[in-house]
Subunit: 282 residues, 2 copies
């Protein structure tokens, strides 16, 4: 099949867009008083997922997870997803059935959050490569950044951690994002493990953090996985003491060398899941 | 090297952005009365370019061409580039020197048109895969679409054609885009050959086209290449008779079966360069 006939199989949708798929570019008309957030995430066979052999996931699951990665980044900014661009490079082993299943998983999740497919590109490589760009909108000046944590703030996580092995279809926390928007001082998603991501938030904010409790752990996962495994997609956020917030209270932001984290009084190493250093994992 | 240390090598730039690289997403604050255009294009080793062996291009040329593809799509909409997201998957053979050269070529071209690097992703694959998303802005309602050609309009091309083999560093026609904005009825870029792209414009507009002259041909290229080769990045556009336009006059938009094209009175087959059907063609 050629590109046009493959793309014809993808359901059309134009909600919120002046112009969707089919021209040189999509056109979006911004609303007054909105900031737009932009994120893009690669999802690659044999790096982020396996499509064949042991540990293989289905085409639908692959599409779901490719979209979940980018939606989670929108959630981490407190943004409401608006539209996405999806570049997909197919491998020689992929079939039309796999292609359809992949888009079904991807668009099913996108649709749930009002994220319209506005365009993309299609090509071929020895293994499947997908790049998903999500544009979200947030009231002007209200985006949740990772550099806003202040000394004395309380630190929260939105749910249990342990890595994608224990939750293959993680839900992007757009519901939590809506609740904490306007109240949180900083937020990010846990994509490379709590220890590494909290370290990054502290570095960006120029603060240290003290974890007074161990984080909630996914059923079947270890504390080690909850601290250092990747792709949880729970949100990590801070708010001033006294502000009522959803989620699990983990500890406090404190003065100290930027990026330093302690867990129950002991230093916590900021190692985590760096996709680039971990070819062998997953 | 890990992802953080590789990304630290990419020059930072924030022009026009509330927040650039380093958070979960970039933040862009739209201006009143602007529409935003969005396009993304894959640029893949052994599909769109060769990095080693016969026909190899340099790292800088590869970066340049990866960016040129998406900037050309912005030009085709009449848009001014604002920012880009770059996802790059490196191959085992790539070196830090290649990485630096690639970004030098890519950002050098982006900078020339005020297109700020706002984010992206980094991973690894057996061959280099790059996906470049460009956001452009255009006055509200003024974007140049491909569905606006009307019977009686004159058809133009911005320059000589013949395919990338004869012009390895094509210039995205953002200068022409500025001149025809507000005057052209339809526009697109010639990325898959004049015959196929004009066919697409005619299909989108529900019209036919008559080429009264052969298109201008690049030095060293054949007429066949000018009609059917890919990645020219010249603009193809229409305007009502009597409106002064830059470029070469090719013919007229006429009534007829949508998509039909004639050249000097004979039917012109809309075959072109479909990346998906042409694995063998570099």
């Amino acid at each position: 099949m050629n590109e046009a006939s493959l793309l014809a199989r993808v359901p059309a949708s134009r909600r919120g867009l002046v112009l969707g798929i089919g021209d040189d570019a999509a056109i979006y008309r911004p609303k007054a008083d909105e900031d737009l957030t932009f994120t893009t995430d690669l999802f690659i066979e044999n790096v982020h997922f396996r499509a064949r052999g042991p540990g293989a996931i289905s085409a639908e699951q692959a599409g779901y997870r490719a979209m979940a990665r980018s939606l989670s980044d929108a959630a981490a900014m407190g943004a409401r997803p608006r539209f996405c661009l999806v570049s997909l490079s197919l491998a020689p082993w992929t079939t039309v059935r796999w292609f359809d299943g992949f888009y079904r998983g991807l668009l099913g999740l996108a649709d749930r959050y009002g994220c319209t497919l506005a365009g993309g590109d299609l090509s071929h490589t020895p293994q499947v490569v997908c790049d998903v760009m999500v544009c979200g909108s947030v009231p002007k000046g209200k985006a949740l950044r990772r550099d806003g944590a202040r000394v004395g703030d309380v630190l929260y996580v939105s749910g249990s951690l342990g890595g994608w092995r224990h939750r293959p279809m993680p839900v992007p926390r757009l519901d939590v994002a809506r609740k904490i928007l306007g109240r949180a001082t900083a937020a990010m998603d846990v994509s490379d493990g709590l220890a590494l991501d909290l370290h990054r938030m502290c570095l960006a904010s120029g603060v240290a953090a003290r974890l007074d409790v161990t984080p909630p752990v996914l059923r079947g996962a270890t504390l080690e996985e909850a601290l250092h495994a990747g792709e949880d997609y729970e949100l990590l956020y801070t708010a001033p003491k006294g502000v009522r917030m959803p989620g699990h209270r983990l500890g406090t932001i404190e003065k100290g060398p930027p990026g330093r984290i302690t867990l129950l009084g002991k230093p916590l190493s900021p190692h985590g899941y760096d996709h680039f250093e971990s070819r062998a994992r997953s």
